[in-house]
Symmetry: C3
Subunit: 357 residues, 3 copies
């Protein structure tokens, strides 16, 4: 793990009045860079050759840096260029997936918005549960061995792969049969998590924690739109008789939603508790956007089955602000723009290092 003070040293060399906001071209890059431009920053998309033309096409993207593969962002000459250009990188789901948490922790010297210590807490399931427990967050029952399965469960695999390979099972036999069929490496397969499948309405809560104004904000809520499951369940069951088509849970998009207002105090409590616990576990704790993936059961309890400790793709719905951001800001405030705003505020009061690691 690169120590915080080494990143601070790099940051100390930055010219604060010519910062560039950069990210990898994928996931929520358009939102992030549009928001950065709206807040007055120069912007940079870093991508492979096949996507360069796509990212060059937008007015709000000042520069596109083409690299051979996403891991090339770690190369000495690339990082030197980024640092020379005063680039602050914004991590997102694909960024972390492409570059890998380990490489970010150990080899990425370029300043990153947020606290990179969170990667460790997020990628290790045991640590994740410790965090949730300390925050008093209700989680689904987990089964450590397939033989323990006694209800409908969902089997998941780690990493930000957008749901690929996930499957449902009702018992050990189904588990064994299905895990054989999925297209993952042996190593990935062995890293399975067996979670009770919680039945209810799904709410993906898009939070933002600002260490500058010391406040947790709810910036939006979405529902994931997953293939093939959201198509499969639209075929009447009698027509599916004879076709045991396996459901898939690959995230392909997002649908907007609002939650019953009487549930909002509990939701804000979840957000605040997650931040509070993170400050104790890995000070200064989580910084910027994070998303709680929850299901609201019929008795109005939220069960949280995952945290994404960075901007999530569901925020792409709210380029112009969400029904929640609009309660907080009279301007259009996407999560991408909120990140840039936080950096701007931090620069203005001379506390940039507090939102960077």
């Amino acid at each position: 793990m690169i120590p915080k003070k080494e990143i601070d040293k790099v940051l100390a060399g930055y010219e604060n009045d010519s910062i560039t906001i950069g990210t990898i071209g994928s996931h929520s890059a358009l939102q992030i860079l549009k928001g950065a431009k709206d807040e007055g920053f120069d912007t940079l998309a870093i991508c492979t050759k096949d996507r360069a033309e796509f990212y060059k096409d937008w007015n709000f993207i000042d520069n596109v840096l083409v690299i051979g593969s996403y891991k090339d962002i770690l190369k000495k000459n690339v990082q030197e260029k980024l640092i020379k250009d005063n680039v602050i990188l914004i991590p997102h789901g694909s960024f972390v997936e492409y570059v890998t948490p380990k490489s970010i922790e150990e080899k990425l010297y370029t300043p990153l918005f947020g606290n990179r210590s969170v990667l460790h807490w997020e990628s290790d399931r045991r640590k994740g549960r410790e965090w949730f427990n300390l925050a008093g967050i209700k989680i689904p029952k987990e089964f450590s061995h397939p033989s323990e399965i006694d209800r409908i469960v969902i089997v998941k695999f780690p990493g930000a792969k957008g749901g690929r390979g996930y499957f449902l099972a009702r018992n050990e036999g189904e588990f064994n049969k299905k895990i054989k069929g999925i297209k993952l490496t042996m190593k990935e397969k062995n890293n399975f998590t067996i979670q009770e499948y919680i039945i209810g309405t799904r709410f993906y809560l898009q939070f933002f924690y600002s260490p500058i104004i010391k406040k947790v904000e709810l910036l939006g809520i979405d529902i994931r739109y997953e293939s093939n499951i959201d198509g499969l369940v639209r075929i009447p069951s009698y027509l599916l008789a004879g076709y045991e088509i396996e459901p898939g849970y690959v995230v392909t998009g997002n649908i907007p939603v609002v939650v019953r207002e009487s549930l909002l105090p509990r939701i804000m409590e979840i957000g605040n508790n997650i931040v509070g616990a993170s400050k104790r576990l890995f000070p200064p704790g989580i910084i910027g956007p994070f998303c709680m993936e929850t299901v609201c059961t019929e008795d109005m309890n939220f069960v949280s089955f995952e945290i994404s400790a960075r901007i999530v793709a569901g925020t792409n719905l709210y380029l112009q602000g969400s029904p929640y951001s609009q309660l907080l800001y009279d301007e259009p405030m996407s999560t991408g723009r909120r990140i840039a705003r936080e950096i701007k505020m931090a620069v203005d009061i001379g506390k940039l290092a507090e939102v960077i690691y």
Copy 2:
């Protein structure tokens, strides 16, 4: 029932240039108070202690009044304070549920936006049907006794409980078995309604009737997002074999939708007819927001299964305006803001009493 002229007398004592818009902290209070603030009013959230911190946190809420229980809003000292502060209360679903229609009718002397006579017409199912019939609104077949059930029906229980306890049944046997299992009091259970379950697309039509400009406006449309049903149907049926999980219909959120334009003339007719009939049944009729809960069948007919004669939670989607409000207003116009606008217009032309009861 408190006579209109008694409320008018209270209202006559109000200082019209320092009106406060108040409501109970729940349901659509954030939207209502944000809209009131945008229209230049002082704002007040009334809530129990556990929610006080949550409501104090918003910039657009000037004051939070903490009461022991929601019914305490009826207490003499509380009402005296509200009246002294020139508070106009905005009723919403939870407001009516918490305080009860009967108490609002008989004990709430504080001026209320809208016509409180509607409570009577809405809570009595026979009266409700009379209203719908006079308006020429198509309603689902109702069965007065479980023995008459000859198709898929939905069994509902009165009150603004957000769908709690609702269940589906196909015959008397299923009815009897299922009604035993639900968690409601005996009195609530006996108050069941058995409705034909209409299959089609659900549209919750958010109307607003302005007695000031004498016009029905469509301000938005939503789809309710209900637990557990919207999670249950996302499990492929072969995986549910052996688990007869009972569907639940508790409203937990709302999803935005627009309707085919060729259906809009019929929709406006429904809104206009409901207002017209209300003027004949309980003059001056319905005032302000109301929602028709409809299903659009495959042959493009709207069947209306309920009316909510006040602001509904689905309007929370449209803080910044909906695709329909945007046809009417070049500013962001939520239903909450529209209420405040109506009060402002009424004050400006000296007709506040016409929108209050």
Copy 3:
């Protein structure tokens, strides 16, 4: 087919500083006329008597022309009036359905936004496939005879009827049984298409091609909300046992959605390729809005099952702009407004004839 130069001759007689944007009152007329008004044009809704009152009610509609039936738009005196008033007509789905492609091609001398040659390519399925193949667009397998059905298929009927009569079948027997039951004329029934039913998430991609700025824009994405299917699948399957209710696919509304950003480059490629192929097949090719109806399969491939070569009703969601239009325009930019903007830009640079046919 009326030759382009005859329309150009009509257009040459227009006073370019007093153009009226007109369309038939249905489908997306409100959006089109609101957008035209926002861009400074006079506006005209053409409709039958029963809808006149509805269309007269909107501030942004300057004139309503009442005609006996939609085909009356072809009458000499009606067209003369439209031409005298410098009306440019905007075609939409119901416009084409009501007036028919053949009549538009052969009898409508009033200038139309877009390239009317596209009607031919869109209504003839063989030509449509030629277009898709040239553009390298993946399409579902089609079966020319019911006896070939070897998987779940959807059977469709041509024309912009919004999904009426569509049904699913698994084999020839089901096909024969179901086609008997549907309410269509014999001629319509014989015009069936049997398509493989692709399972995945549905994305209706709303594009706009501008010959003025020579660019394909993605202005929004939606999901269709269809009756009765979207209600039917919300009934748990065990409750449907014994009721083989036939699913229906009549489009009744639309729900907003965003797509995973990593899929956007492929989506833009689809849009660009469709435009490129159209330029070769029927120069100058497609002009203005078009919609690709796609399903995203679990392995992240887009299968396109239809094109609508004009504004689609799903754009009605985005009166105030979509998450995609907001990346392109800092003003609220609906597809309706974008059309008017294109006409305005064309007028300004003296190239109106390039966007009209």
